[in-house]
Structures are given as C-alpha cells and as structure tokens.
C-alpha cells in the first residue's frame, strides 16, 4: 500500500515535471508567433507588469540590501579593507542574492497574478472561447508570458545587483570614509565572467521555471472559482521550491 503511494507520487511528479518541460519547449517553438500583433500585445503588457512596474521597488530593495550587507561586512573585517569588502559584496550579491531576491519579488507579484488570471479565464470559459476562434492558447496566452517573465527576471536581477553594489559603496564612502577606488578595485577584480554567467543563468532559469509553473497551475483550474486561490498558493510554493533547488544546483555547478 505504502509502496504504491510512493510510486504513484513519483509518477505524478514525473508527469508534472514533463508537463512543465513541454510547456517551456512549446514556448520556445512558438517564439515566431511574437510577430502576431495580439500576441505581441500580451508580451509587452507582461513586460510592463512584471518588469517595468516592479523596477522601482526592486531598486529600493537592492539599495537597502546592499547597505545591510556592507554594514555587516565592514563591522566584521574592519574599515580599511575596501578591496576585500568589494570582493565579498560581489560574491554575495551577484552570485547569490541578486537572482534569488529578484525571483522572490517576481514570485510575490507575478506568479499569483498570472495563475489567478489564467485560472479565472479558464473557469469563465474564456480559454475555450479563444480556442473556438482558432487561436492556440499556448501561442497566445502561455508563450508571451513565459518569455516576458524570463526577460523581466534578467532585467530585475541586473538592476537589483547594480543598486545593491552602488548602495553599499555609497554608504561606506559616506559614513566610514572609505575611498571609492578601494571598493571599485575589489569589485572589478572579483567580477569575472564566471560570476556574471552564474547570475545570468540563474535569472534565466528562475524566470522560465516560475512562468511555466504559474501558467501550468492557472490552466489546471477548472469547475469552480474557489479553486483559484488554491492554484495561486500552489504556484507560489512550487515556484519558491524550484528556485531554491535550482539555486543550489547552479551554485554547485559553477563554484564547486
């Protein structure tokens, strides 16, 4: 009985993961559909909602995190070690916190919105209506969301990292009088292609997975409107779970 439960659970997980994989592959296959004007509109709206509208908050969070990190490092290693401080700042922000914080903000904001929107469209028969018009929902609803969310994630990660580093440098320069050049030397020497690639790969992968999970959960809603909150909760938890798993794996691959 117990073995059967475990086997069923494992099978369900495999089916679900292959569904997500197919959704992502389908989005890549349907990329040329961005030439179609209504698909492009959905894409730009998603970029605006997930990327541009979130940018201000992301920069503020980045600045604050940068200040917190640099204050802790400075208290730990001392004021005169500008180069080391710059190095640690790059390691912590670019390698880890940038993609992770951007993902958490996107999950809090866009995952719930996408899964609730698609879920309510499904319950109200709007997705069936779209199909009746000869429009492929994967091409019109899913692909632009996956691509836009992924690009937004890369953009938000970049701005988060930039504001965190600049915020940190500014605070140490103003409050502790550490010369600006000391930090920049540390930052520039430790900011290698490896760091930048790890950050880019993480943000791309987080974006794709978060978007696929939210679209998949939204599409699964059927029957009753009360299923929508359940779908958004599932999408949020699963996205967080996948982000932490992939974060660990990519860190191991790049820096072990």
């Amino acid at each position: 009985m117990r073995t059967k439960k475990i086997t069923d659970g494992a099978l369900n997980t495999i089916v679900y993961l292959s569904g997500l994989f197919n959704l992502i592959l389908g989005a890549l296959k349907n990329l040329p559909a961005l030439k179609i004007s209504p698909v492009r509109t959905v894409f730009f709206r998603q970029i605006y909602f997930a990327g541009i509208e979130t940018l201000g908050k992301m920069v503020i969070i980045g600045l604050l995190i940068g200040i917190v990190i640099i204050s802790q490092i400075t208290s730990l290693v001392g004021v005169g070690r500008g180069e080391l401080i710059g190095k640690i700042l790059v390691w912590v922000v670019v390698r880890e916190l940038g993609p992770l914080f951007a993902a958490i903000v996107v999950i809090a904001r866009s995952v719930t919105a996408i899964s609730a929107e698609l879920g309510s469209m499904n319950v109200q028969g709007e997705i069936a209506s779209i199909e009746m018009m000869g429009i492929d929902p994967e091409r019109y609803l899913i692909m632009p969301r996956i691509i836009a969310l992924t690009l937004s994630m890369v953009m938000l990660t970049f701005y988060f990292e930039l504001s965190a580093i600049l915020g940190g440098i500014a605070v140490t320069s103003v409050f502790w009088g550490v010369p600006f050049e000391q930090h920049t030397t540390g930052i520039l020497t430790s900011l290698t292609i490896m760091e930048l690639s790890a950050s880019l790969v993480k943000s791309l992968l987080f974006g794709v997975v978060i978007a696929a999970v939210s679209c998949s959960q939204g599409f699964k809603v059927s029957g009753s409107i009360t299923r929508i909150p359940q779908a958004t909760t599932k999408a949020t938890i699963q996205s967080l779970f996948f982000v932490f798993i992939f974060d660990g794996i990519i860190t191991l691959i790049f820096f072990l």
Binding site: K35, I36, S37, P38, V39, T41, E117, S120, M121, Q124, G125, E126, A128, S129, I130, E131, M132, M133, G134, I135, D136, Y140
Partner: protein, 218 residues
C-alpha cells in the same frame, strides 16, 4: 459544412446524424442548457466524437492536425450567449482579436469596418471599456461583431435571442439574414432550447436533440 455520421460522444450523443449544408440555415433545439453548451463544444471541435464520423468543411475532424483544426475554426464564427469576450481585453480589442491574430499583416481600414459593423448591429456603448460591466445583450452584440469581422463561412448563434423584446428580435434576425446573404454559401446554425425561437428564425432544417440523437422536424 458540418456533417455528423453516426457520431457518438460518451454520455451525450449516441450515433447521431446531422448535416448543415452550404448556404443553408439550420436550427438545433436541445432539452437542456448543458446539452446545448456541450453541443457547441462538439461543433467547434473542442470535444471530439468517440466513434462515428464528424466532418468539418468536408474533412474528417479526427484526421486534422491542431493547425488544420484552427484553420477550420477560423472559418466558423460563433456568437456565444454570453458574448464569449475576454475579460482583460477592452471591447474593441475583443472585437479585433481573431481578425488581427489570423491576418499576418495589419489590415487597412479594420477600425472603420468594425465601427460600421457596430453601427449596423446597433451597438451604442463605449468600446474602450472592459466588457465586465456591460449587460449580457451588449456582450453578445460585441461577440456578433467579432464573428462578422472574420467573414466566416459558417456562423453559429448560441441562444442569441435570449432576453430580447420581440421588436429587437426582429431587428437581430434581419441583420442575421442580411449577413448570411452577403457571402455566397454562408450557412447559419442556431442553437437554442426554446421552441418559440422557430417563430423568429427562418431555418431550412430544424433538428431536435433527444436521448443522444438528432430528429429532423418537418
């Protein structure tokens, strides 16, 4: 245009046969709303027969690829009872959605064409608003305009006369007849549950769906 040859859908159709021919006008009356909604899904190819044959524009539906099926759906205009509008698109975006999706290049004069159609069918509300607050009848009209813009070969009307006064019903029927005559071979298919509908529509064939079979009425 649509032909059922002994088509069965588990728990719904049982070796049902029906034919909607080009240029014709046909009505199908169901006993319940559930049956009507399911039948609409079958006509649109969203639910496929488990056995028997269903031909869409002369092609067996089970042999069509997803793209071919979408190509066939492009030729069918569906005016849903609730309008079938997308809630996060403005009314004008809803009306232009299928035509701008299916045309590879931006079409000249599409906005003007839309305004003319809306004038013709008597839609007088704001088209820059989201469809949510609109009354059902207005949503249906917007759905009608959306279907008309696609210049379909077959148009399916899903209980379009619901909740209308006899006067407005007459006007709507006039527009439907005129629209059918605009293109040679265009067919109309009316889905409803109310037999009173037969007083308003001019159908060449009337089918009743009972116990999974279509019975033609004389």
């Amino acid at each position: 245009m649509i032909t059922f040859e002994c088509a069965s859908v588990k728990g719904f159709l049982d070796c049902a046969s029906l034919a909607v021919s080009a240029g014709g006008s046909c009505a199908v009356l169901t006993e319940t709303e559930f049956e009507k909604n399911l039948l609409l899904k079958v006509f649109a190819g969203l639910t496929r027969p488990d056995s028997g044959r269903m031909l869409l524009f002369g092609k067996e539906i089970s042999s069509l690829s997803a793209d071919e099926l979408n190509g066939a759906r492009k030729r069918i205009g569906i005016v849903q009872n609730n309008g079938g509008l997308i809630s996060n698109l403005k009314v004008w975006e809803n009306i232009l959605l299928p035509v701008s999706y299916h045309s590879p290049l931006p079409q000249q004069g599409l906005d003007e064409k839309m305004i003319n159609i809306l004038d013709k069918i008597g839609y007088d509300d704001d088209i820059t608003m989201l469809p949510g607050p609109l009354p059902e009848y207005k949503k249906r009209l917007a759905g009608f305009a959306r279907a008309m813009l696609m210049e379909p070969d077959l148009i399916i009307y899903d209980s379009v006369f619901d909740g209308l006064s006899p006067d407005i019903r007459g006007k709507v029927m006039g527009t439907i007849t005129e629209f059918q005559q605009e293109k040679e071979g265009r067919a109309s298919l009316f889905l409803d549950m109310d037999e009173g509908l037969l007083d308003y529509i001019r159908a060449d064939k009337v089918y009743m769906l009972k116990k999974g079979k279509f019975y033609e009425r004389n």
